[in-house]
Each structure stands twice: as structure tokens, then as C-alpha cells.
Symmetry: C2
Subunit: 433 residues, 2 copies
């Protein structure tokens, strides 16, 4: 379908710079979509005939947000374990429930998260899950773009770890022709994978030519244990094992020293900031300002809905832009513009997707349109600021992924929302019986 | 009008305790409103005939939120000065614009904030403004409940300070018969009012029998200056001047030591936490957990829209509940329940309003109804958590103040929204010319 977005405020890359890369500006213009591709900005491509024209009055158009770290299936646990200590949260609340999940539960949990993400402007996410084939199937059925990784754990060549790795490879192979999903290998963390297993997984990633996705330096305990056990920080440990020889995205990265950040820079490691999860689970606040100042590719993720309660990237952007001003006593730290980049362009880069994440001719038409005829958007003094500081994410009007309209008037055009709510609710009813 | 809310999830006070006071529970029940009063919970009052029945399916009902510190007129400056240092923000961006405001601008700015607050479930707010009579007029025209205070500054008996005090008294007198607005006296801060003036204002507050509303211990500079100038913390300084002999609410309270918190306890001072503003302007993070642990009456406010970018209390609750877990490395700190209390009951108490802030028979019908048929509210594992951690504030369906329906289907029933947007936008266009 050819779509013309007419006279609409757009967030466009511009000639200026921001941090170590390009900057963005808000400009009223026309956007042309031909099938799955952004085919024109300002000027229609030759011979363009619109099947549909979307009037831009009181609307803002942007590339879709990229949620750079998630466990989408965990939405079934939302609000089931809040205001409790990490040990209680993980071992007494979440894991006993997780053990009872069957494939169908994972499917509905994933779709519920996808629905929430889409409705709040996210078009692409990086997922770490616990089963085989179900998450890519759920995502394809939704029509979102995702990079998927089965979380794997292991000890050397012990069978359980190799089986999990084989499962991950099988999943990758099963979906190798997918238009929407691609893959990473995901060794869960340094405290659930030993060094030999991490090396095996790294070699496998090289062979498969896929990046690595892992949790790193999340809690003070992880840091303390690494220092005691290896005499190294978690970052030094992974670097020395050779993991970073493969393109890597590390989630959390709260417990870092300056040398760790230099290592990230040296190996071009991407970071997924998870500010809400880190606060909720009392892990602290990641040194995002330092990382951005050193030119690290910082993306933003919500983490799973059990450690966040929501999958709304606007909320995450809000925390990302505000926290580091307060803790660094620097009101200029992590601007709205930098935050927007983290949530779009940097996210796509971290996910190794070069076909989305920026509003440019030739890129995939992964877009959201937000209704800004709401009090929180008046007066329109600075729409970039508005998007980062004033938007709630629930003002999304329309979402396109791969050129397909998946959300219109704030509602899914392709999914039975009530069915998803019903099925996701049934899961928790059954497993808590 | 008599309204029956039928089979609706409600947040009700219960027999359990939370911190130093009562706890709340979520329960499906029936709520009856007779004119401006909550007349029945569970059981209809004798002879009740509903003029209107609201079906509760997929909805949650709560008392309206209380925004305990605001400068509502400043919405005209929204997003006009972000990501800049405090000195630039105040002296180069905000004050030069503020100097150009005329009464009509204040009116539209206030109404824009009221509209945003109502649409996100806030029914009552505490305001500090800069002109005379306009804000109470704007609020009465909207139909919200508010406690209003003209910000005043002065030096001893110098004329400018006494004139401002006289203006504040005149405003209080002009609206003394208002059903919806009440008043406080608002000496702006210890760095804009000298000690003699603070004593004069305190004596006047005693005579008028109104509380005092002030900014206190907001920035590191304010603390440093007070220590240098008076050899006292800002809190000690106000206590020693006798200000706290009058019922007082202090906004911000970021720079506190343990003794300051003891002083608040001794004098029963209420605190308005402003987490977003404190982060945005790089002032830091208030010791809210310590205050709550010591039984201080902590309320929550957004601060003005120039130092926040929004007037949405759900966002503020979100930061309030999450920040202190992260900075104290304590996942149990400041629970969803405590946060809800801060945003409702504690707010009403801080504002010296004993007729609202809790869902009880006999209280004013200041209520919101939220549509929870959205992905962020599924599964319904814990609706109190959902309200605090998952809600965005934009899911508000209906709002009543003083028994009148002011918002229905998320839209104002009494205001011309487009007219407010237009007029508030015109202000900034004119003054930035």
C-alpha cells in the first residue's frame, strides 16, 4: 500500500551533530511510504499514487521506537511481585511461576507485550526468552520486527547447556527465512554460564554470524562475586574470555567503572539501559552520562514486564532523560535529543538492524503517529522535548511496521485484543491455583 | 445529581495499617454519590434513586489525586527551557518571559494545567502563583478544588513586600465564600524573603488562620548559603524563626539531614515531594524513605510545568515509588500503597482539607474512574501496583469534583479544550516575539 502522510510534524535527521553522531530536528513535511519502504520525504517519489492519505494536523510522525532489552513473555507476571527484595522476587515469586509455564502461555504473554509495545509506539524489540520457536511465531503473528534470542545457561560441555544451545540454533534455523525476525545468541549472565560455556557460545555466534545478547553488571552482588571469583569486573571478565570479539549488546550495565566503559568503547559493545528495572529491583543507576560522553552506543530497553510493570518506551525515555540530570547534578546531562537517539537509531544499531531506526528514504516503514492535540503538548514550544518529557506513550494513533498499519485510532487492526487479555489472564489464574 | 457506580473496582481504606497510618485495599463494590458527597459504599443510602448509573466493568474508581505543589500558570512555558543549567533556566529563559505575562495569560496558563490535571485524575491542587485574583477565578471557572497561594517576597517592612502581602490578603478576602478554593500564605523561599519578612508573614498567617506554603531546601546552593549566612540549615532556620508554629507545607525538601527530618516531625510539617522537578533541575533526590520511616506527612506534587513538562500525577507517583528503591538499594522502599497514600490522603492532609482525599462516606465526591481495559493492566495481578507502576494517567475515563462530572470519556464536559489550547499557545507566541 502507498501511504502519504500530509503536512505532518516529523523527526528527521539533520546536518547538525549531537554527541558523537548526527542530530535531529522537528519539521513539518510530507512522508511517502511505498509498500514496506519510506520512499519519499518532502517530495513524492516518481509516479507515486497514494492509496491512502493521512492528514498530519495535530500529529507527529517518528520512526518507531526500539526496545533494546525485553523478556516479552513475562507480561503474565505483571504486578505479581512488586515492592519485594530481589531474592524474594526471583526465587520465591517469579521462578516458581515460570516453571509452570507451557508453550501456549509464552505465546499469549508475548502477544500481550507486543500489543502494549505497539500501542505505545515501539515497532522493534530485542527479546530473551525461555522456550523454543514460540516467541518468533508469536511475533510473526503480530507482525512486529524483533531480534530474538533464547536465553541459555550452561557449564562447560555439560549436556544441559549444550542442549539449550542446540535448541537456540534450531530456532534460528527454523526462522531463517523470516522477513521480520532475526536472532542473537543469549548466554544469560556470567553467574549462570561458566567461562568454558561462554567460550563455546561465543565460537558458535561467530560460526552463525549472529551477535551476542547478555545481562551484565546488573547487581552489586554480581560485581562483588566476579571480583572475588575472577579478580575482575564482569566487563573485564567477558572481554578477557573473548566474548566481545563478537558484536555484543549488554543489558543493564549498572555496576561499571571507568575502565569497563573504555572496554566497551574498545570492543564497540552496545549497552541497553534499563532504568526502571534497575530502580525497581534496587540495583541502582547506570552511569549513562559517562557512557554517552565516551561515545558508547547506548540504547534503551524496558526489561521484562515482571521487572518493570510496563512495556512503554516513553516511560523509559522519561527516566533515561531525567535520572542522570539528578544524580550527576547536571541539568544538561542526557538531553531529550540524545534520549530520542538512544530509543531509535542507537537501538537499531545495537540490534544490528541497518534497515530501520531512522526516518530516511530507503529505510523500512516502521513508524508511529502520535496525536498531540492533548493538553500535555501545548504550547508547542519544543516538540522534541514534548516527546521525551511530556508524552505518555498512550497518545499513539497509528503504527506501521514494515509498511503495514498495525495500529489505527490507537487500536490493533490485526489482533483480537480481548482474546489476548483473556488468554494472558487465564495463564496466571491457572499457574497460581 | 445522584450517581451509582455499579460493581466497580475501588480503592478503599481498610483495617490494616501501612507505615504510620491506615492501609488500602482494592475491592469490587458499589459507590453512591448524592450531589457533592459520597453517600454510600457497598450499600445505597436510604431512599437513594440514581439519576445515572455507571457500569464498573473494566474500570477502577479512586478518590482524585492531590497535586501538592504547583505553579499552574507556568504551562505556557512548557518545553521552552529544557536540558539547560538552573541559572540559564531561571534567569535567561523563564524570568524574562514571566515578566511579560499579563493577567489573561495567567488565566489561560492555569486553565491549561487544570485541564491536564483533570484529564489525568487530579481533582485538587496546591498552587503558588504571581498575580492577584486570576488563578482562583480560573480554577472556579474550571470547577476544580484548589488551595491557592500568591507567592510573596520581601525584606523586612520594605514597601514591595508589604504590598505583595496585602495583595495576597485581598485575594483571600475576595474569595472567602468560595466552595472550591481555599488559601495559604506563600513566602516564596528563604533566599527571596528575609527573616523579618518571614516573621511578619507568619504572624499574618496566624491572624488569618491559614497555613504557610513555601519552597525549602531545594538546591545545594540554598543549603550552602543558609549554612554560611545563618550557620543553620534552611529547615533549622525556619524552625527558629517560628514559621513552623503555623501549619506548613514545604515543597522540594531535597537537601535535608536527619535533624531536619526530626524538626519536621516535631512541628508536624508536611512535605511536597517533587521528584521530576528535582531531577530535571539537577537538584538531586529527596530522602523520602527516611521521611516516611519517621512518619512525616509526605505528599506529592508536580511543581510547575516549566520545571516538569507535565502535570500528570501518575508520572510523579511512578518516580516517587521507583527512585528511592534504586538510590537506597532497597526494593521494599516506598511501596505502591505508600505512594498512593502520598498522592491522595497525605496530600489532602498537607493541604488542610479534611473533606476529601479518601473514599469514605461523607467525604466530597472528588473521584476518578480509569479504564483498565488496556494491555498495561493485564493480567490483573495487583491493581494497586498497576495504578502506581503501570498506569500512564491518560487512561482516565471520568472525573468528578464536588460531585460534578468534569471529565467524561476522557474529555472535558465543561471547558472548550480547543479554546484553551489556542489561547495558551497565543501567549508564548506573543511574549517571544
Amino acid at each position: 500500500m502507498n501511504i502519504h502522510f500530509k503536512n505532518i510534524y516529523c523527526i528527521l535527521p539533520c546536518a547538525k551533530t549531537c554527541g558523537t553522531g548526527r542530530s535531529y530536528e522537528v519539521k513539518e513535511t510530507n512522508i511517502y511510504v511505498t509498500n514496506d519502504i519510506i520512499s519519499g520525504i518532502g517530495t513524492a517519489p516518481d509516479g507515486f499514487i497514494a492509496d491512502r492519505t493521512v492528514q498530519g494536523k495535530n500529529k507527529i510522525l517518528s520512526v518507531g521506537l526500539v526496545n533494546a532489552h525485553n523478556h516479552a513473555y513475562m507480561s503474565v507476571f505483571r504486578n505479581s511481585a512488586d515492592d519485594v527484595l530481589f531474592e524474594e522476587w526471583l526465587f520465591k515469586r517469579i521462578l516458581p511461576l515460570e516453571d509452570k509455564l507451557v508453550d501456549e502461555d509464552i505465546y499469549w504473554g508475548t502477544q500481550l507485550s507486543c500489543l502494549e509495545m505497539l500501542k505505545s509506539g515501539t515497532t522493534t524489540f530485542l527479546d530473551m526468552h525461555i522456550t523454543k520457536n514460540i516467541v518468533p511465531k508469536a511475533v510473526e503473528d503480530v507482525g512486529m520486527r524483533a531480534v530474538i534470542s533464547k536465553g541459555i545457561v550452561g557449564e562447560g560441555t555439560a549436556e544441559y547447556g549444550l542442549t539449550r544451545l542446540a535448541d537456540a540454533k534450531e530456532e534460528i534455523n527454523n526462522f531463517k527465512n523470516s522477513k521480520l525476525v532475526s536472532f542473537m545468541l543469549a548466554p544469560h549472565a556470567i553467574y549462570t554460564c561458566d567461562s568454558e560455556y561462554l567460550k563455546i557460545v561465543t565460537e558458535e555466534a561467530k560460526k552463525l554470524n549472529v551477535p551476542i545478547h547478555t545481562h551484565l553488571a546488573e547487581s552489586p552482588v554480581e560485581l562483588k562475586d566476579a571480583l572475588e571469583k575472577y579478580g575482575k569486573t564482569p566487563v573485564e571478565y567477558l572481554a578477557d574470555l573473548g566474548v566481545f570479539d563478537v558484536k555484543t549488546i549488554c543489558a543493564h550495565c549498572v555496576q561499571l567503572n571507568d575502565n569497563d566503559i573504555d572496554i566497551f568503547k574498545k570492543y564497540n559493545v552496545s549497552v541497553a539501559a534499563n532504568p526502571v528495572s534497575n530502580l525497581k529491583l534496587a540495583n541502582g543507576i547506570a552511569p549513562i552520562k559517562k557512557m554517552l560522553d565516551k561515545g558508547i552506543n547506548v540504547a534503551i530497553g524496558t526489561d521484562g514486564p515482571a521487572s518493570n510493570n510496563g512495556q512503554n518506551m516513553f516511560r523509559e525515555m522519561n527516566f533515561h532523560a531525567l535520572l542522570h540530570k539528578g544524580v550527576n547534578h547536571d541539568a544538561e546531562a542526557v538531553s531529550a535529543l540524545e534520549t530520542y537517539k538512544c530509543a531509535t537509531e542507537n537501538g537499531a544499531k545495537a540490534l544490528a538492524l541497518d534497515n530501520c531506526g531512522v526516518l530516511e528514504v530507503g529505510k523500512k516503514a516502521d513508524l508511529f503517529v502520535m496525536d498531540i492535540n492533548q493538553p500535555q503538548f501545548y504550547p508547542r514550544n519544543n516538540l522534541m522535548s514534548a516527546l521525551c518529557y511530556s508524552a505518555r506513550g498512550t497518545e499513539i494513533d497509528m503504527v506501521l511496521v514494515d509498511g503495514k498499519i498495525l495500529i489505527e485510532d490507537g487500536k490493533s487492526t490485526t489482533l483480537d485484543e480481548e482474546k489476548i487479555y483473556y488468554n494472558a489472564s487465564k495463564v496466571i489464574e491457572r499457574i497460581t491455583k
